[in-house]
Amino acid sequence: MALRTPLLISLIALSLMLIALLVARPQMTSTRGGKMLAFLVLFALPLLCMAVGVSSEMQRSKSTQFCLSCHVMEGYGRSLYIDDPAHLPAAHFQNHRVPADQACYTCHTNYAMFGGFRAKLHGLRHVYVQYLGTIPQQIHLYEPYNNRECLHCHLGARSFEEGVVHNADPDLLPAVKANKVSCLSSGCHDTVHDVSRLKDLTFWKPKE
């Protein structure tokens, strides 16, 4: 991934140089070689650059750094470093239960059909609100958090399936799996991004 952007920039620079050459000397296209060059630089290379560029930006838009680059998300970013395992996002982020570089996307995408596409559409709306709309004081989810997103990783995991609390009531696990009892808002794992109390909390400092 780290090499992808420099490689793409090099490809774009090469394309730009060849296009500039063709623009400066269009009579080159009168020869067979010139026609082949024109096809390459006016058709094949630009399409390749755009395809790789969009794919690269799509990948980057999943990064934690990208999500937290808007000012309104600052508190949510800080909440990932709260030094308290009871804070669900912090515990997941700090212990790499989710990839640290895609922490927001991993939990907030939708693991149903077209979930990634819907997440991107929501992202476009966020960009609109950030630059042209009114940023709300309090951010809310579009819909209640679905257990499906938790179960995407936890379903079948020993700690989840055989956990003492999860099995204390035989009706609990089936209800959780059916999304009838929420993992987050049923009094179990209900401390999430506690941004309003950030100033009262202590933070974990990762070792360099």
Binding site: I12, L22, V23, Q27, L47, G53, V54, E57, R60
Partner: protein, 64 residues
């Protein structure tokens, strides 16, 4: 009108559109902000698509 110079002019037009489109894409790749993503897809994509379309049109509209 000289057919070959007409074609060359259209290829130049296509090249200029592509230079703008790819230029926008390059800048957006270096500028890691959410707005850059939208700019790249909307503006960069538009100019590149227009450049490719002008090139293809130049080929098919050429009188043999």
């Amino acid at each position: 009108m000289n057919l070959s110079s007409d074609l060359e002019r259209q290829l130049q037009r296509s090249g200029l559109l592509l230079i703008i489109g790819l230029g926008i894409e390059g800048v957006c790749l270096l500028w890691a902000r959410p707005i850059a993503f939208v700019l790249m897809v909307a503006a960069g994509g538009f100019f590149c698509a227009a450049g490719v379309a002008v090139y293809l049109y130049a080929l098919v509209s050429r009188k043999l």
